[in-house]
Assembly symmetry: C2
Homo-oligomer: 164 residues x 2
DNA sequence: ATTGCAATTGAAAATCGTTTTCAATTGTCG
DNA sequence: CGACAATTGAAAACGATTTTCAATTGCAAT
């Protein structure tokens, strides 16, 4: 790793080592906060900005890429798989991947037809995961049952849930 | 309109009328700023928050929905069409729509298989539109040609371009 | 028309994740 | 061992979004 980075013109530092290691240990779709917390447990002196900068660096060198689900926080996804889509649970913020090969094919064709040069495909299905639906008792989703104005099912939790 | 809103428990006001009208006159994928500017030309006294709140209201009553392309600004898209995908030009920020019926079918099946209740599908192709490619001279996109590190092709423009 | 009151408005401030600044520290290379 | 660019941490800056609050205004019932 030290070697890999040097060839790209970057130095290796204890913080960096720590951050890189922690990042790859955490699952996919890591947020700055999650990584920051994890690193802090090892060395509380590591700064927020350092974690952020190194996450950027990891992307820079092509080991991960940013994923923005639209909930306000950026997630960092390892790039060790073929293009894939995301099932994003709006309740617990969990992310599950799925194959998008056939979909990408369609989009590529569509793009070619308009002379649009695709650089990145974003395929997401937002909704409620199996676990959350069980917990809350929603049956079919889509179409708020009459009477229920605001959401605030007050139960579910599984990841940070501070709604921004 | 006044009637429609009243049945939903909202009042009509001159600002609201102005904002609603302006929103539907502007094309699709309007940002708060764009609408704010447009409204300002008619009545400079209208506040930023009022425009924002009414845009939210328009969504509330089901006439539009938020679209977040990941570039930091929220766009508001009229809901007068069947589900569609977006070609998003990262250069000029233009948005072009395309049909996603077959894609939604695939995603629906995929979701069902995982017991995931879909509520919203997001299908985007980020890249460079025909116009921008012409202007800059990029040929194929994907894979930065050697030597070019930073982007800043210093030319193109077509919509706000302050990169956040 | 007048009145009561919740809805609405505009300005300013608060949020909050992201990004930059800056002085101090630390790798790396000759 | 230096020289020096890269890196770091704390704090501040950013910027779009969202909230707060006092003042104003629709509108429905007198
Ligand atoms: Mn992923
Ligand atoms: Mn659209
Ligand atoms: Zn869930
Ligand atoms: Zn373009």
């Amino acid at each position: 790793m030290r070697e890999f980075l040097r060839t790209k013109g970057y130095k290796m530092t204890p913080q960096r080592e720590m951050i890189f290691r922690a990042f790859f240990e955490l699952g996919e779709h890591v947020t700055v906060e999650e990584l920051y917390e994890k690193v802090r447990k090892i060395d509380p002196s590591v700064g927020h900005s350092t974690v952020w900068r190194n996450l950027k660096l990891i992307c820079e060198v092509g080991l991960a890429e940013e994923v923005k689900m639209g909930d306000g926080v950026t997630r960092y996804d390892r790039v060790t798989r073929q293009p894939h889509g995301h099932f994003f649970c709006t309740e617990c913020k969990s992310v599950v991947e799925f194959n998008v090969e056939p979909i990408v094919d369609i989009m590529t064709t569509e793009a070619a037809g308009r002379n649009f040069a695709p650089e990145h495909f974003k395929v997401e299905v937002h909704g409620v995961c199996a676990e959350c639906r069980e917990k809350v008792g929603r049956q079919t989703a889509r179409g708020t049952s009459p009477g229920i104005e605001d959401d605030d099912h007050a139960t579910v939790e599984e990841r940070g849930n501070t709604s921004r």
